[in-house]
């Protein structure tokens, strides 16, 4: 009872604060100075039509590298939490076979998963031209893997291949950044490759390369996380 009263009080107080925020908000009429300089500099200096991808992969690329590190830690953490000493307790549950999915679902998955994979590749490759980029495409790849894992319960993902691929992609990301220090202006600068013609497919220097590496890394990362949540037969998940 008191818990409910305290919750209501907290919600009402937050509601007052949010109402003050919402009523005193006025739309801005022109961009602030930093945003205006970004919108001017990214198409001219970097040759990328998509301003947001130019910011994420060149001007604020160090934050992207930090996020890659966070994703790696989360993947390692999930596998660590879910693999230790769990399966002997669940031995009673794993004696029943996972129920095979019906034919409708299997036909739908066979039709849809190549389309999802092509869509993910399209999103990754067009990151510098239109909305998209490495993170978004990597998440769509992981959703394709999730579809396959849900429809075929006995499918075994090759976890070692995925972890090696994701580590190699991360190392190549950092090496591309160091190449930016050597050849161009600074760490993770995109002028290591020629800027090309504005709006063409192969343009904007190193941004497509970084997008592809990001997409591969995020896709493999999320697939490993998804596979860690699956129940498996006893004794199979002992190797970490």
């Amino acid at each position: 009872m008191t818990r409910r009263v305290f919750a209501v009080i907290a919600i009402v107080l937050f509601g007052f604060v949010f109402a003050t925020l919402a009523t005193s908000y006025t739309e801005q009429h022109s961009l602030r100075r930093l945003a205006e300089s970004y919108v001017q500099l990214v198409p001219q200096k970097l040759g990328a039509p998509n301003v947001i991808t130019g910011i994420l992969l060149t001007y604020r690329a160090f934050d992207t590298l930090g996020e890659v590190a966070v994703l790696f830690m989360v993947g390692a953490g999930v596998v660590l939490v879910l693999n230790v000493d769990r399966w002997p307790h669940a031995a009673a549950h794993s004696s029943e076979e996972p129920r095979p999915s019906s034919e409708i679902v299997q036909s739908g998955a066979q039709f849809l998963s190549p389309l999802i994979a092509i869509f993910a590749a399209y999103i990754i490759m067009n990151g510098h031209l239109s909305a998209g980029g490495g993170f978004q495409g990597g998440a769509v790849i992981a959703s394709c893997v999730l579809l396959v894992l849900l429809v075929y319960p006995h499918y075994q993902l090759n976890i070692e291949f995925l972890t090696i691929t994701e580590s190699v992609a991360g190392v190549l990301f950092v090496l591309t950044g160091i190449a930016g220090v050597i050849v161009a202006g600074g760490f993770l600068d995109n002028r290591i490759l020629p800027l090309g013609q504005f709006g063409a497919f192969f343009s904007a220097g190193g941004i497509p390369v970084l997008s592809i590496l990001l997409g591969i890394k995020v896709g493999c990362e999320l697939s490993v996380i998804l596979d860690g949540f699956r129940p498996g037969p006893v004794g199979q998940k002992d190797k970490v």
Partner: protein
């Protein structure tokens, strides 16, 4: 006007998620409340960057390079939110892994059963 509506919607979603986190006893519903709060924060962050009569900061047929600084929406909040969405998903994955281990230890999903750290 548009961004005021989006801002109010985002703040409402934060309030609903907060209410869900405080009131429910099932761990999965608390996690859903957490996810709602982070979604509401993303909506508020993107809504703040709106410029009056602005369009997306992508140079194509609609917006050419010379008029971009006067007509484009602020790109920085969108870039921050792209990172934040992925990290929110990663945090949800860790929370769900902890939920599975908690269920294995006590066979219940109610948060009232886990009182070891209460004093």
């Amino acid at each position: 006007m548009i961004s005021s509506i989006v801002l109010t919607t985002g703040l409402l979603v934060i309030l609903i998620g907060f209410w869900g986190m405080l009131m429910h006893r099932n761990i999965l519903r608390i996690i859903i409340g957490f996810s709602l709060m982070s979604t509401g924060t993303h909506i508020v962050t993107v809504a703040i960057g709106y410029v009056k009569n602005g369009t997306a900061p992508i140079i194509d047929r609609v917006l050419n390079m010379s008029e971009a600084p006067s007509r484009a929406v602020d790109p920085i909040p969108s870039a921050l939110v792209v990172t934040a969405i992925v990290i929110g998903m990663a945090v949800t994955a860790i929370m769900l892994a902890y939920t599975i281990r908690l269920y294995d230890s006590k066979k219940t999903l109610s948060i009232d059963a886990f009182t070891e750290s209460k004093w």
